[in-house]
Subunit: 107 residues, 2 copies
């Protein structure tokens, strides 16, 4: 596996839905880049035993973690703790690019 | 724990050595921000069962992962797989700010 990756350059976008690109993948964790065009979202879901961290590489996302809902923009990090329902939506008008870490890797 | 954090704003720097600030800490992983002034470094070390991902928030770092050594700048992500000796140095002249994920959390 290539150990050095440019996260923003790896981002991809699809007109149909949020696009995931994997940067790193091990037995213990993964690190992805998500690209969301305006109006796209990752709907609410939860991972029983895994924590997820979002880092906003570019743009503004509307995050919902459990009962908390707020915007986070470039440079902000958001924790979705194990078991907490979480969702993110790009209300536009620009694109949204996220760096995403999850551990342990869901089976 | 606060679920939303501004990573760059959380960074701190010390004249003595690299400064670590924790953003998120769970049973499974942690997410820190490292601040390195010019000339500071994290010397080579390894974690037998944990993967680390560095993301360069600002600046340029000289990374060594196993036998590979190269610079990574703002927007680049670097994987230090479990067991691989890894080190990072800020050769200056600017500051270096890193977002760091490690999973699972070393005991």
């Amino acid at each position: 596996m290539e150990l050095f990756k440019n996260a923003l350059a790896a981002a991809a976008f699809s007109p149909e839905k949020m696009k995931k690109v994997n940067l790193f993948d091990t037995e213990r964790m993964f690190c992805d880049v998500y690209g969301l065009k305006a109006g796209q979202e990752q709907t609410a879901h939860a991972h029983a035993g895994s924590d997820k961290v979002y880092f906003v590489l570019d743009g503004i996302g509307r995050f919902r973690i459990g009962d908390e809902e707020r915007d986070a923009g470039t440079g902000e990090a958001v924790l979705a703790p194990a078991g907490a329902p979480h969702a993110v939506r790009n209300n536009g008008p620009g694109q949204l690019t996220l760096l995403v870490f999850m551990a342990p890797k869901p089976s």
